[in-house]
């Protein structure tokens, strides 16, 4: 840059910058949504809401846990009205901070009681099922287990990938603790660690490693493999649903809450209702391959219907004790 061009460029930048500031300040009335679900997945649906209801929306997409921390730091000065998250664990964290507002009973009644908080502080929107992803070139279908408790046997030594620091895995362990008992969950974690189960950063990393053949199997949420196969149909990774009633078939609800700090509770509630309409539920079934949680909307593709699945009964309150779960995982030796 020759002399004189730099100040010009800086001036232009400052002008552009102040334009953005003014634009940012303009929309104080908009419904502000903090979304731990990504724009790829839910962006079109949120736009549909804005169009149909004529509500202006500001959406902040981010990591579910990071957004929960942000809300805790903002407290009652939050600009957000709604929190839309991936994991009941994060909702439980916000609930403990006293940041969530009760939803009306008729909204909660739209989903099974397993999929909303009893105090109405969050309601499930779509379900993601836990599965065992496996490499079909490395594991014969006949050798697939029925239960996660089979995976501690010697024939699975070093062959099952886990993601101990991942929110869904932690939700799964929390459910196991309450359904099967603290002792059994602890013993399972230790046995998996003793069985040299390799660990990964997240669901993506496990599915990718299974596809490559680095590890033959892994415990993940069902829809990651659907995505990988959509990008590369030649991959040998397949989903295996464990036996009915096994804790390994847990359905984890994504969830939505209205925040205590909202200045427009009506619009916020309208948004929650919208997510539970047949139209929105159909969107989750067809576009994100997730389980619709409202009665009457079937899942698509190879997914077994939610009723036929008979996932283990649990109460959502049992998904709240993340701290105990984290301690158990840390002490088991998995990292």
């Amino acid at each position: 840059m020759r002399t004189g061009a730099l100040p010009g460029l800086l001036f232009a930048l400052v002008l552009a910058g102040s334009g953005f500031v003014l634009a940012g300040c303009g929309d104080r009335e908009a419904l502000t949504i903090y979304s731990g679900r990504t724009e790829n997945l839910v962006g079109p649906l949120l736009e549909q809401f804005a169009e149909e209801t004529g509500t202006a929306i500001d959406v902040r997409y981010g990591d579910t846990a990071d957004l929960a921390l942000l809300l805790a730091e903002e407290g009652d000065r939050t600009p957000a009205d709604v929190f839309f998250g991936q994991s009941p664990g994060a909702a439980a964290f916000l609930d403990k901070e006293g940041l969530l507002r009760s939803l009306p009973q008729e909204v909660l009644d739209l989903v099974d009681e397993r999929f909303h908080a009893a105090d109405g502080h969050w309601v499930g929107v779509s379900g993601r099922q836990r599965v065992l992803v496996y490499n079909k070139d490395m594991v014969a279908e006949a050798d697939l287990p029925d239960s996660v408790f089979d995976l501690t046997a010697p024939e699975y030594r070093g062959r099952v990938g886990l993601a101990p620091s991942n929110g869904s895995f932690q939700d799964f362990i929390t459910a196991m603790r309450s359904l099967e008992g603290e002792g059994r969950a602890e013993a399972w974690l230790r046995a998996m660690a003793d069985n040299d189960s390799p660990t990964y950063a997240n669901n993506n990393a496990i599915v990718e490693a299974v596809g490559r053949g680095e590890v033959p199997m892994g415990l993940v949420n069902h829809y990651y493999n659907e995505r990988f196969l959509a990008e590369d149909p030649s991959l040998p990774s397949r989903n295996h649903t464990l036996a009915d009633g096994d804790v390994g078939t847990l359905v984890i609800p994504s969830n939505v809450s209205v925040l205590e700090g909202t200045d427009q509770p009506e619009a916020a509630e309208e948004f929650v209702r919208f997510l539970l309409t047949e139209e929105a539920q159909r969107y989750f079934a067809e576009e994100t391959f997730e389980y619709p949680l409202v009665d009457g909307v079937p899942p698509v593709g190879d997914l077994p219907p939610l009723d036929a699945l008979r996932p283990p009964d649990y109460l959502p309150e049992q998904l709240a004790d993340l701290e105990g779960t984290a301690r158990l995982i840390a002490e088991s030796g998995l990292d």
Partner: protein, 519 residues
């Protein structure tokens, strides 16, 4: 007196994140007891090991390639000079994922060439290797800038006295470039200890990974660990300040730069530079290109997919450029007074200002963001209304990356010959006119190099961007992240390639084309 106030005003905001951590730690009383148990000591130890080993290796590699492109007749060194800087713009979480997909068992390399991949890319060696490849530019850029500013006369004398190329390098070049090497190695260390996405992916349990693992589950422990990380950073910064005597001889660029003939070493040197560019740039970019092309071939039915509508990348690319250019300009302007203060005087106040500015680079972006939330929302009205606007985002970048501009700015300030200043003073020039007419032009290459480092880092910044950017302000980094999060690899790759391309163009325009600050 006025100058001291200016320095204090410039340095004070950098203390904000540390003060935030202290305030939060004081609130959650029992956390020390938890945090000091072995579950902190293990990660702390691993953090030290990884940070120092990556810093040493990146320093060696960065210095070697800087010397090769700045001082030798390496074929194509103009192009190598640009390519060697570019790995800096690859966000570590996607770079690491691509390198795993390329080199591990059953990976792309194995499928294409039939050569078996590594058993697995993970743990210490995985993290070490990938980090060295992605961070050596922190050493390469300042060292290359330093070498270009150095008078070649001493090297020429050494050569005339019969020293070989490498003897000259050891006895003449290295001592002169030493402060730049050390400053770069410090940045690599601080970057490594603050890094989360990469160590998480490669499963190496550092302090930052523990901070993230506890952030929702046990926030007080997470806060205390962040404070320990900050204290470690400040201690290392203070140590580096003692080791580095930033009193290099005044850079006088007299005539043409020295060109050392490589002779029989030419093939080996080409192999080294080519290997570094191959592993750190071509391999990850190649994997990304493969995923992108596969996706472009397949197409996608969902709305908003980048593979069917790549023009969706234009807005994020513009946002990324605006925010990071502003951050680069502001960072240089803010740290310049601090650089004057710390490069000249060696007093305690200078040491403190230096430590808080540089230490900010070691804090995870998430911590910087939460600290800014705390201070902004707690501030009186005109300031509080900046919450989640562009100025706040730029402020976060400046706090996080100001360290990158400070090191080169200090070297630039120290390089102004005092005699020149005295002459100007005698001739009655005012302070401001002296700065604008005499000193700034002299410092321009060094300041530009610092601005470039800030620019490239801000472009790929993720956690603070997600939390603090204005609503509806997508950047290339946030597009990469959200696509990768959902395993839309083709989309993630397209956005990442766009990031590399935009960074390359901006680096070229701002650094290479002008003044040859880097190349």
């Amino acid at each position: 007196m006025g100058f001291r106030v200016l320095v204090a005003a410039a340095a004070l905001p950098f203390a904000g994140p540390f003060l935030y951590l202290i305030i939060r730690a004081a609130e959650g009383d029992a956390a020390w007891e938890h945090a000091l148990r072995e579950r902190t000591l293990g990660p702390l130890w691993r953090t030290l090991i990884l940070g120092s080993s990556v810093a040493v290796a990146a320093a060696a590699l960065g210095t070697a390639v800087a010397w090769l492109v700045a001082r030798t007749d390496l074929p194509g060194r103009r192009i190598w000079a640009v390519l060697l800087a570019l790995p800096l713009v690859i966000p570590s979480f996607i770079g690491a994922f691509a390198l795993i997909a390329a080199f591990s068992r059953g990976g792309l390399l194995e499928r294409v060439t039939g050569i078996g991949g590594l058993r697995s890319v993970s743990g210490f060696w995985g993290a070490f290797g990938v980090l060295v490849l992605l961070t050596y530019p922190y050493v390469y850029l300042p060292v290359a800038a330093r070498l270009r500013a150095l008078p070649p006369s001493m090297e020429e004398s050494a050569r005339l006295l019969g020293r070989g190329a490498f003897g000259t390098f050891r006895t003449v070049v290295l001592p002169q470039a030493w402060t730049a090497v050390l400053a770069g190695a410090l940045l690599v260390f601080l970057y490594t200890i603050s890094e989360f996405g990469l160590v998480q992916l490669l499963r190496y349990d550092t302090l930052t990974r523990a901070i993230y693992a506890n952030r929702v589950i046990d926030p007080p422990v997470s806060i205390t660990m962040s404070l320990i990380l900050g204290a470690l950073a400040i201690a290392v910064v203070a140590l580096e300040r003692r080791l580095a005597r930033r009193r290099p001889g005044p850079p006088r660029r007299e005539g043409r730069a020295l060109v050392v003939p490589l002779g029989r070493w030419r093939a080996g040197a080409l192999g080294l530079v080519g290997g570094v560019v191959g592993l750190a740039l071509v391999a990850p970019v190649g994997v990304l290109a493969y995923w992108a092309l596969r996706g472009l071939g397949e197409g996608a039915s969902r709305s908003g997919a980048l593979v069917t509508n790549p023009s969706e990348l234009v807005e994020p690319a513009i946002n990324t450029s605006i925010a990071s250019l502003l951050a680069a300009a502001c960072a240089v302007a803010v740290v310049l007074p601090v650089a004057y203060f710390t490069a000249r005087g060696r007093g305690r106040a200078g040491g403190v200002a230096n430590a808080v500015v540089v230490g900010g680079f070691a804090l995870p972006g998430l911590v910087i963001a939460l600290a800014l939330v705390f201070w902004t929302l707690g501030a009186p009205e005109p300031l509080a209304s900046l919450y989640q606007t562009l100025p706040l985002l730029v402020g976060a970048y400046v706090l996080h990356f100001g360290a990158l501009a400070l090191g080169t700015a200090q070297v630039a300030v120290a390089g102004i010959p005092p005699a020149l200043e005295d002459a100007a003073r005698v001739l009655g020039r005012g302070r401001l006119r002296r700065l604008v007419q005499i000193e700034l032009p002299l410092m321009a290459p060094g300041l530009a190099a610092g601005a470039g480092l800030v620019l490239l880092s801000a472009m790929k910044e993720l956690p603070a961007t997600l939390l603090l950017a204005p609503a509806g302000f997508p950047t290339l980094a946030t597009r990469i992240w959200s696509s990768a999060e959902d395993a839309f690899w083709a989309d993630a790759s397209l956005a990442a390639l766009a990031l590399v391309a935009v960074s390359g163009v901006l680096t070229w325009l701002l650094l290479i084309r002008r003044g040859r600050a880097v190349a």
